[in-house]
């Protein structure tokens, strides 16, 4: 039999349906008209009828034994734990919780993100000083002792951080190795125009610690002590001369401890959330597979 001899799929289906009495009404009449005209269909009908007769004539294979259940078997079947519904419900519950988590996250991101964009976020505010400090860090640090025209406590630096070309700073701070040393001009060793010996980081750190331990050494801020105010020389008390009143990378020292925990908190929050999601997803899959296995086994 070649492909040309094979009936088209529609004719084949219609022929089988007609043979089994599944064609009714107009469809049946229409097919009978076609059948009367087509010898090919008639031959196929004859063949299919023979085939169906032969298949239906196959002897019925009697059951080799009775498949009835004894009372013990029936009790054993009933006793078997039906874990399938339990696992199914557990999987469904985990799936619902997971969907709830994702939905709440979606809603939160959808409705809170525009508001967050309108107002500068805390993270953005805390990041700003860091950016400034980064810019400052890129600028070359110039170590001068008293500035180009160091007259007493002036010198480059001061408020602005000691830029070269600003001979008369206001703060009285001289940048020395990344720290400002309040001098008020009491640096007799300094010669105008000579570069100062930069302090090592250990020395600067020790001086900074000393400043923090001494409330009076609070930089340029006004003293709140009840003692009569000392005369200020270029905004610095005489007793504070030679002490570190501020370290250069102020922002780094302050910002880093504040932002680092925030970042850690955000990270830890995200991690917890991810762990929860992964756990829920694992529960969905595990319970679902167990339920499916039990269902198929039943």
């Amino acid at each position: 039999m070649t492909r040309q001899d094979m009936l088209p799929k529609k004719d084949n289906e219609a022929l089988c349906a007609y043979m089994d009495g599944m064609l009714t009404g107009e469809k049946k009449l229409k097919f009978e008209k076609r059948l009367a005209k087509s010898l090919r269909l008639q031959k196929a009908l004859k063949e299919y009828t023979q085939l169906r007769t032969a298949v239906r004539g196959l002897p019925c294979q009697a059951a080799p034994r009775n498949f009835t259940l004894t009372r013990e078997e029936a009790r054993a079947i009933k006793r078997q734990p039906v874990l399938y519904p339990a696992f199914g419900f557990a999987s469904l519950a985990a799936l619902l919780i997971l969907a709830l988590v994702f939905t709440s996250e979606f809603i939160f991101k959808t409705y809170s993100a525009p508001m967050a964009r309108e107002l500068p976020s805390e993270a953005a505010l805390s990041a700003a000083p860091s950016q400034e400090s980064a810019l400052e860090a890129q600028q070359p640090q110039i170590f001068t002792w008293g500035g180009a025209y160091g007259m007493g406590g002036g010198g480059a630096g001061g408020i602005g951080g000691g830029a070269e070309g600003v001979p008369y700073g206001l703060g009285g701070g001289v940048p020395v190795g990344g720290t400002f040393v309040g001098s008020s001009g009491a640096v007799p060793e300094a010669k105008p125009g000579e570069p100062a010996e930069p302090l090592s980081s250990e020395e600067a750190g020790a001086q900074l610690q000393q400043m923090e331990e001494t409330p009076q050494a609070a930089g340029m801020g006004a003293s709140l002590s009840s003692e009569p105010p000392e005369p200020l020389i270029l905004g610095i008390r005489e007793s504070e001369a030679g002490q570190i009143i501020s370290s250069y990378p102020q922002t780094e020292a302050k910002v880093a401890p504040e932002t680092a925990p925030d970042a850690q908190t955000e990270t830890s929050r995200a991690l917890v959330s991810e762990y929860v999601k992964i756990g829920l997803l694992a529960a969905v899959l595990a319970f679902g597979i167990l339920a499916l296995a039990l269902y198929l086994k039943r």
């Binding site: 039999m1 070649t2 492909r3 040309q4 001899d5 094979m6 009936l7 799929k9 084949n12 289906e13 022929l15 089988c16 349906a17 089994d20 599944m22 087509s38 010898l39 090919r40 008639q42 031959k43 063949e47 299919y48 023979q50 085939l51 169906r52 032969a54 298949v55 239906r56 196959l58 002897p59 019925c60 294979q61 009697a62 059951a63 080799p64 034994r65 009775n66 498949f67 009835t68 259940l69 009372r71 078997e73 029936a74 079947i77 198929l296 039943r298």
Partner: protein
């Protein structure tokens, strides 16, 4: 006592009523399983599994033909058995030739293939039909067994295999066509009514 009464008693927990239903339909169930699986032992196992499953699911029976419902469970048990067998590949009815093209005609069975010769040597129509039936793809075989052997109507087969009417019609037509092609391959070995000439009628 009628079938409906037996069903109600069985659903209520009456084991005797359940067993009477089993005895009533176990031959049909085993026969269908045997034709689908072509293996007496596997058919026996599938039938036993179906009876156990039916006992568990009695409370889910929602009326209709009890025989069709039972056959549905038997068919599912056979599907489980066939899935377990999938590790052992069988020779398809339509193999590919050397060029990788699909061979439509089952004339390859007339060559030196051992299957047809063995079946033909038995000189029994039943063996030939069972051989061709076993070579059908499982989806075609199940429909053909349910319609032509178990005597189920199309609607019942739709419910049993959980497929729409169009699928059942299509599968049955394809199954009969394949069976016809397969039986042609036996040629003179079959009774004369199955010796179909390869002549074009139109």
């Amino acid at each position: 006592m009628g079938e409906q009464d037996l069903i109600e008693l069985a659903v209520g927990g009456d084991l005797d009523a359940f067993n009477r239903l089993v005895l009533q339909y176990q031959d049909a169930a085993y026969n269908a399983a045997f034709r689908i699986l072509s293996d007496p032992a596997a058919a026996e196992d599938a039938t036993q599994e179906a009876v156990i499953s039916m006992y568990r699911k009695l409370n889910t029976y929602r009326g209709g033909s009890f025989k069709s419902w039972f056959l549905r469970i038997v068919t599912n048990a056979c599907y489980d058995e066939l899935r377990r067998r999938q590790r052992r590949p069988s020779v398809p009815l339509e193999p590919e030739n050397d060029e990788g093209e699909l061979v439509d005609s089952p004339s390859w069975m007339e060559d030196d293939a051992p299957g047809p010769e063995e079946a033909a040597s038995a000189k029994e129509l039943e063996d030939a039909i069972q051989h061709c039936l076993a070579d059908l793809e499982e989806k075609f075989r199940v429909v053909m067994v349910l319609v032509d052997i178990a005597g189920e109507d199309y609607e019942s087969v739709c419910a049993i295999i959980n497929r729409p009417m169009g699928t059942v019609k299509s599968r049955l037509a394809r199954a009969r066509q394949k069976m016809q092609d397969c039986l042609r391959g036996f040629g003179e070995l079959l009774p004369e009514k199955f010796r179909l000439k390869d002549e074009v009628m139109e």
